[in-house]
Symmetry: C2
Subunit: 166 residues, 2 copies
DNA sequence: GTCTATAGTGGGATAGAC
DNA sequence: GTCTATCCCACTATAGAC
């Protein structure tokens, strides 16, 4: 099992995803970039899910870092979270908008990404609600679900105010 | 253009989606349920997106009704919203987890679904944040994104408290 | 004119030859 | 390790039955 090919495939996948979006993330495209045929990829990967898992792990680590760097100020953390989502829209969607393959994730990764927010908020349940709120704002913005003229800076500020004033 | 076939196809699509999930929502499956071949469906519909649009419209109307019935109590509205999402998980995902085909939606439908919350909250920006928060909680729960043992009743209560105490 | 079947594109995935 | 060939999926184009 050529470990190198696996890493190469993940790197190509991330580049394609971020540059051209989800539709470009096809086994045929990735294989072509590596100079081989699509079926050959399956000798190095279990399947497309394997590739996506690697991208999910990368992104969760990055999100945890981004939040930790902005902690413990809730406003700064919200801005950092929003910025990450807007700067990596296709990756953010890939990572958040589906069930987590928990059993295949490195030990502690999920908790590590969440820790800065839990510590900044204090209460566990309140922290979950705050994460859900931030994710809701981010994903609805990415999916263009707010009305065209909506002032999203104001909505984010209202969110921070709701969770920060206590 | 047989309008009847269109309605039949939408009804079959909703039944399949709710009963068996997104994967069952294939043109082949729907056509088979109607006793015709998949390509023939395209004479009655523009494509799969046409079918999904009809389901999106149905769901947005239902969500607006559900919120209006629970208004103006924020706790009741949150519980009603969550209940709708949990009772129609595949439909909720289909409707919310992608860009809205706004230009093809009936006039006022989107605003109508949002109105109960805007009126209950008062402030437009705060209402958007509250909707995003509720959507975040609902979609993360549906996608199994909270840790296994998480007390989501408590998280929803924390969310309502954050937006209600004012 | 309304219906249908056939064939072809491009996606994920697999089996088996070399 | 890579290949060809094959299968199922959504979708499109087109020709033809009636």
């Amino acid at each position: 099992m050529a470990e190198v090919r696996h890493r190469e495939a993940v790197a190509v996948a991330r580049r394609l995803l971020e540059a051209e979006g989800e539709d470009a993330l096809s086994m045929r495209r990735i294989a072509a970039e590596l100079g081989i045929r699509a079926p050959s990829l399956y000798k190095h990967l279990d399947g497309k899910a394997d590739l996506e898992l690697a991208l999910i792990i990368e992104a969760l680590e990055e999100i945890g870092d981004v939040l930790a760097s902005a902690a413990p100020d809730l406003g700064a953390m919200a801005r950092a979270y929003r910025r990450y989502a807007l700067e990596h829209p296709h990756l953010y969607v890939l990572v958040t908008q589906r069930p987590l393959p928990r059993e295949r994730l490195p030990e502690g990764l999920e908790q590590g990404a969440a820790r800065p927010l839990v510590e900044a908020i204090g209460d566990e349940h309140r922290a979950r609600a705050a994460w859900a709120a931030a994710h809701g704002m981010a994903i609805l913005e990415l999916n263009g679900r707010f009305p065209p003229g909506a002032d999203l800076d104001a909505a984010w500020a209202a969110l921070v105010a709701a969770f920060g004033d206590r």
